[in-house]
Symmetry: C2
Subunit: 260 residues, 2 copies
DNA sequence: CGCAAGATTGAAACGTATCAAGTTGGGTGG
DNA sequence: CCACCCAACTTGATACGTTTCAATCTTGCG
């Protein structure tokens, strides 16, 4: 595949930032520690490892790997991919910073997906055995763990609802809408962002042909809803986009993500 | 809708059977208690309630109900249904005996689905607060709980893979295949069973028009793969069905379900 | 500059949804 | 017991959207 380390891509490694504990992490409230107190946070911090920077196309785990840790990106983006019996790849979810990666293995103790970096990234690693044993002692952490897992299931359901009985343009609008919301959640612009994934990845995720995604983007641009420059997306008419996605648009948009 | 209690449907209530604890339940190894020891089983048994028999079309919980308990059918069948922003129903999963119901609410503490009985049924109820507090003390139960939850997520993924990039006949074959396996798992015939759900439910679940499901059944019957008499399904040529579903068919079929 | 991968655009073929009749079977009431 | 009814299911004809195949265009990168 692609080289693990592209020469033109010097790693902007900020050790000081990497060493920060959960307590100082800007994602704290969006991540596993959300809602737990200072003492508990210290216990959690003790078991969280900081991995070396991850290169584009690098894998956190592969299919059939035993479940060891859960992962969370601090920055960058990942996709999780399952492979059908016929060898076709299916993207199960996209993961932005703060979103737990690795829950696919909870059932069998063995991963059924690969987690592949879409960009260079920095990742926290949480050994599951330690996490569960700490959680057994800290009811609030246990509760939060279940909540995070449950949210993951909710996202799978959102993904499913996006695929069933919705046609191409609706899926694409919903995808862009959700992505914008997720970027907003982590403090970036909901109206202008760079897609970390290819058209092919989007198509795969949405259950469409990549040509259909391309046509969809073009159509949205012609209609003045978005602007497209390669992977750079600008949302020009958010209400219109929401209408196409059939999403209500009250002031406070409910917590929602697209990729699980 | 249909009457809560049809006159022609006297409830064959077997109190002796209902009073059985998990320890004596035939589903024990397929259910929450799988793999935990006798002491732990006793602790679990203490918190499991047996609900009065549930009528066809009765709901275990509704959308927006707070999460109180998880449910498991001892017999009968359920569907869980979510409702989109436009008011369209989407069937998220079918639940046969031994399969946990109610995990949809883990994320927000509030149900995002309704659980509706497809048939008359007997149901065990497990209050979640008690379950988690017991699980915190019993590592094996904690582990088993996570495993069951993880399996639920796995099933959602199977459902998703069934919908994406597969065409109608393949989805239908896969659906029947999976249903057969699940019946086999609970000690019934994999080759002959009565569908607990309507064609409309199947179509909704598979993301198809109900006419397409009907045609699919007819086609499978014409090809000598199955026999259809209303809701009675016989599988005449299992290898052929598996081939249509693109499922490998080694001697030992992997643990798999269709509805999550 | 020039290649290769990714993205866009076009035309035709296919599969499924939709609309519209029929058909079957279980339940009800005369 | 039969006629009727209604809901569930089946079957047929047409319309639509998406896939597919193919060609062209763009972009990043060596």
């Amino acid at each position: 595949m692609a080289p693990w380390r592209a020469m033109s891509d010097p790693i902007p490694l900020d050790l000081a930032h990497l060493r920060k504990s959960c307590a100082h992490c800007s994602l704290q409230q969006l991540c596993l520690p959300a809602g737990i107190d200072a003492d508990e946070l210290r216990r959690l911090d003790e078991i969280v490892k900081l991995r070396r920077p991850t290169q584009r196309n690098e894998r956190l785990f592969r299919i059939a790997d035993p479940l060891v840790s859960l992962y969370i990106a601090r920055d960058g983006a990942f996709k999780t991919v399952s492979i059908s019996e016929q060898g076709e790849e299916q993207i199960v979810g996209f993961h932005l910073p703060g979103e737990l990666i690795g829950l696919d293995a909870l059932g069998q103790g063995v991963h059924r997906c690969e987690a592949i970096a879409l960009t260079n990234a920095n990742v926290c690693e949480v050994p599951l055995a330690q996490l569960t044993s700490v959680a057994a002692q800290l009811p609030r952490l246990q509760q939060q763990l279940l909540r995070v897992i449950g949210q993951g299931m909710g996202l799978d359901q959102d993904h499913l609802n996006m695929l069933v009985k919705r046609q191409a343009n609706e899926r694409i609008a919903l995808f862009l809408h959700g992505l914008g919301e997720r970027y907003q959640l982590i403090g970036q612009s909901a109206l202008q962002f760079k897609l970390p994934m290819s058209r092919e990845d989007i198509a795969n995720y949405l259950g469409l042909a990549l040509e259909t995604v391309s046509r969809g983007f073009t159509r949205l641009q012609e209609d003045g809803v978005i602007s497209v420059h390669g992977r750079l997306i600008g949302i020009s008419d958010r209400p219109h986009l929401n209408r196409l996605a059939h999403v209500e648009e009250p002031a406070a948009t409910p917590l929602r993500r697209i990729g699980g």
